[in-house]
Amino acid sequence: MSSRPELKAPPEIFYDDVEARKYTYSSRIIEIQAKLSERALELLALPNDGVPRLLLDIGCGSGLSGETLSENGHQWIGLDISLSMLDIALEREAEGDLLLKDMGQGLGLRSGVIDGAISISAVQWLCNADKSSHEPRLRLKAFFGSLYRCLARGARAVFQVYPESLAQRELILSSAMRAGFAGGVVVDYPHSSKSRKEYLVLTCGPPSINTELPKAKLEDEESCSDDESSGEEENQTVCIADRHRPRKKQKTTKKGKGREWVLKKKEQMRRKGNAVPLDTRYTARKRKARF
């Protein structure tokens, strides 16, 4: 991936009429999108009882991913920030309902009504600050918080993402955990640079009772990633399930960091080659109160 559209312009500007058309009518992209959304739907692990569900397609664009949902009989609501993309979706007669919406502003949906959410290559856009009022951390928080509220208990959300760096993936994942989701990252084809795909699989609370099916297998990440047999070389799962860790308590004690900690840090800095003052008896000593 040599060029990243996120780095060029904000989504509502990058996907203008020309780009939206180019994107949607490229047979290569259609194929990739179909594959990604099929896999996302599979990871969503909806109960296999033939009942259509109400799903959310976040960053639906021109409805390429929604088509897969419709083919599987589900009703979906798609939202996107680019009007040009949505226009193309209308042109292609997407069956889902479309909303012009910025996911970083929160979804604004009623609580507990959505049976699942997918998002193909969209969440990484949230990590960019395209306007002075944008703060990626807050936008991610608003997004995941509102998503958590609108999903039914036990529903899943699957995001296919292209994080730019490790830090970006961390940022997305930690925002999701903070909103209350449990889950982790599933990496398809981890050893191939071309077809490597990352999916963020998030579960909202315990499995729900109103989904009316024995769901014993669905609970953990492994069960679903073990299912695929053919193409996958390996599936890495990173589970971060600990939702109730009191974060603040871990940080510091009241006394402050202490001499040992300072010495350790200075040693670390020295190893990095930074200019660090010598260790003396004054190191990490407290100032007198009258100072």
């Binding site: 033939g50 009942v51 259509p52 569900r53 109400l54 009989g73 009703q75 609501i77 939202l79 920030i81 009007l83 949505l86 226009d87 209308l90 309902d97 479309l98 909303l99 012009l100 919406k101 910025d102 502003q105 929160g106 979804l107 604004g108 949906l109 009623r110 507990g112 009504v113 959505i114 049976d115 306007k131 009022s133 608003a142 509102s146 609108c150 109103n210």
Partner: protein, 123 residues
């Protein structure tokens, strides 16, 4: 926009405590046929806010739905399900606006797509 979506959507302007249901200003309504699926309707019946659906369908000019929330046994009747299906999935608000019940902020609907983008001071 289907009434199903309307039933899920609320206004999330900063400071609004109860942004549901959004009021509807109608300019143009169309009907699109959708495959009838009783299983989906039964699933959705538990989730929709009945009063909001009835009010919304009336404002689109469809008055067949009963005013008070039907008993859960009603979903076995085919006649009821057909009406429910029509109101929930087949009625589309094509042109018009959604209005936030608290702030009266209008979200315009064009070509069936509501513009829910908020201004910077509303986030």
């Amino acid at each position: 926009m289907k009434l199903l979506t309307h039933n899920m959507l609320s206004s999330n302007i900063k400071g609004v405590t109860n942004g549901f249901p959004l009021l509807i200003e109608v300019e143009k309504v169309i009907e699109k046929p959708v495959d009838f699926n009783p299983d989906f309707l039964k699933n959705m019946f538990l989730k929709v806010d009945w009063k909001a659906l009835v009010d919304a369908s009336r404002s689109l000019g469809y008055a067949e739905l009963p005013e008070e929330t039907p008993e859960s046994s009603a979903i076995d009747s085919d006649d009821f399900l057909r009406k429910f299906h029509h109101a929930l999935l087949e009625l589309h608000l094509e042109e018009g606006a959604l209005v936030c019940p608290e702030t009266e902020r209008k979200f315009p609907v064009t070509k069936g797509i509501p513009n829910m983008l908020l201004h910077e001071d509303e986030v």
